[in-house]
Amino acid sequence: MPETHTPPQICSRCILPVTFPGIKLDEAGICNHCRREESLSTKTADKKEAYRVRLDDLIRGIKGKAPVYDAIMAYSGGKDSSYALKLLKERYGLRIIALTFDNHFVSPAAMENIKRITDPLGIDHICFRPPWPFIKELFTLTATQDIFPAPTLLRASSVCTACIGIVKSLVLKTALEMSIPMVAFGWSPGQAPIQSAIMKTNAALIRQTQSAFINAFPADIKGRMTHYLLPEDDYTQYNDRFPHNIHPLAFFPYNEDRIIDELKGLGWHAPEDTDTNSSNCLLNAFANQRHLERHGFHPYVWEIANMVRQGVMPRDQGIEKIYSEQNSHMVQYAKERLEI
């Protein structure tokens, strides 16, 4: 078990620290976000059921109609995307293709887990791996500078934001080119609020999103980054093909221990070489440490606090995830590879 250091003063109900921007603790030590949630939580169970019905309806309308695949899954090999993949395959019998973005820091154990999940579920899998010099430059830049707007960095580190931006783009490009009507993500209930769990995308919205992402990069890296984003032609050529994005873990029952048990039944093993907040990435510990040093709060704290607040994660487990020391070996490993 990782060593947990003494946390700063934190909300007595969730785990947000007093260093988190905009937080206010009341006399009982409870934060403004927990107080706001009190008025919303009674509606949550009904909403989750409504979203399950919406997904059932959506899938009824699209299943079997696309040329080859009903859905593409952004698949890291970690526990959440593995579980989402299993859920979509077993509950709905979808024809799924899984896409993994190999950022050169995927744990070898996660790569093995990918095979252990996709093979028995009968899921086609593709792996996309940009050249190391580009990746090294990208992660060196984002580990040493905050290039994204401040609000973005409340929810994720610069490194993760860059990586996820490419992932989102790659799965969307593939969906458009292969006429796949649904893009699935394994985001936890803390990452994806339920209101955003099913969304029909469109060209105008994606164009603006991609523009915001690419414009964050300095000119020398921007040109190479455009390879991974949607080319301008796609917006007109595939205008009627923009898929639904879904985040099923936002509204299906979520329990980390149960998820891991279920995945073990397929042969998935929890990697031992990743940090407390990732089950696939060897860069995450370093990215977390850099974010903590620069901003004074952990980049996963908003997500984990949401899960504690929603009751899908015990508070002590959340504290362990957020307030444990970053694994020094993992931090050193990433620094050496990036030559920082």
Binding site: N32, R36, P149, A192, N202, L205, I206, A212
Partner: protein, 87 residues
């Protein structure tokens, strides 16, 4: 400032900026400024539907309607105008 703009501003500040609304102007692009990503747009939509008793269709989820406080106010105004004409 109109009541509609103030409500939207308060929602954005509380839910996406965690109380820090410095720099949030009426014409600030939520997407370009990193305030909201394409996922967060639906949180905003859910709020607008409840607060203003409207239904926002999939094809209306475009920056022109939702990407700034000004855009939302104009969109709501058009929407209410359309609803008024249909009654």
């Amino acid at each position: 400032m109109s009541d509609v703009k103030e409500k939207i501003r308060r929602f954005i500040a509380e839910n996406f900026l965690f109380g820090d609304e410095e720099g949030l102007k009426d014409d600030t692009s939520f997407l370009e400024g990193g305030t909201i990503d394409s996922t967060g747009i639906l949180e905003l939509v859910s709020y607008l539907e409840e607060e203003f008793s409207i239904t926002i269709e999939d094809e209306e989820l475009i920056p022109e309607n939702l990407d700034s406080i000004n855009n939302i106010e104009k969109y709501l105004s058009r929407k209410k105008g359309d609803a008024g004409r249909m009654e």
